[in-house]
Subunit: 167 residues, 2 copies
Amino acid sequence: MSQGTQNLVEGNPSYAANFTQGDLALPPAQKYVVLTCMDARIDPTRAFNIPLGAAHVIRNAGASARDGFRSLVISQQLLGTVEVLVVKHTGCGMLTFTNAAAKDVVKKNKGDEALKEVEDLDFLPFPDLEDAVKEDVEWLKGKKLEEGVTISGWVYEVETGKARKVV
Amino acid sequence: MSQGTQNLVEGNPSYAANFTQGDLALPPAQKYVVLTCMDARIDPTRAFNIPLGAAHVIRNAGASARDGFRSLVISQQLLGTVEVLVVKHTGCGMLTFTNAAAKDVVKKNKGDEALKEVEDLDFLPFPDLEDAVKEDVEWLKGKKLEEGVTISGWVYEVETGKARKVV
């Protein structure tokens, strides 16, 4: 059995046995959404103190607002959230490569046919962490859709577990 | 102070004070990635038993493989994950609307200028839960990039906390 499947199969029964919140509503009770990175070192629920049922959590490579835009629109327009926290983090993989380098890796690992599938893809890497937080917040604020929504930008430190506000 | 910010500011200091895992490596230690929904009722870490540092967690509206593709490619090609768990869930918002209906809501809430920003967007709703899990797994398996990657599909029940394998 693969590792992820094994973890789930071993751990889910006791989670379910102790589960008491089966009547939570679909729309987030505290009307906010956290956009953060898929990074394995982040546990948003605990690190950002999000009660179950309170907030949407969107995660992608780099906590990209552009990449998360579809989900953000659904969160706000269809499910009523009015606050967005964009949380990027120290040591992010997106600080470490360029689009060209990423495509070279795909070509080397998987060949030309695989490369074709990512040729038009923007991996959305960024060279500076705090600038990237500010840029994503500005980009979101520039969208007509975000009128009336509170948007803040944060950095989470994977070395210390601390989160600090950037903008 | 907005609710999400307040939760973070109140809860993060004690998380950081008790944090002892500041030396985890960037690549996921157990080489897998979980793709699940942004839904507020899901706590992937606990429900799917994911140790900190073990796995990437991608979350978007509906646990969409297409929407998560950029992050999946980065997870696998640049950071070495070799197993994907696609976990959709009961009571998902994506079962409740169509693209046309979503765009009508945007227009009604925010007007014509906001509508322009989502006109070309596919919100990727789906009419049947288990079919959507199977389709996403098939779609991923059809990608050249996924050769050598183990892909499984699951349903998480927000009513019971149980996860079950679909494919």
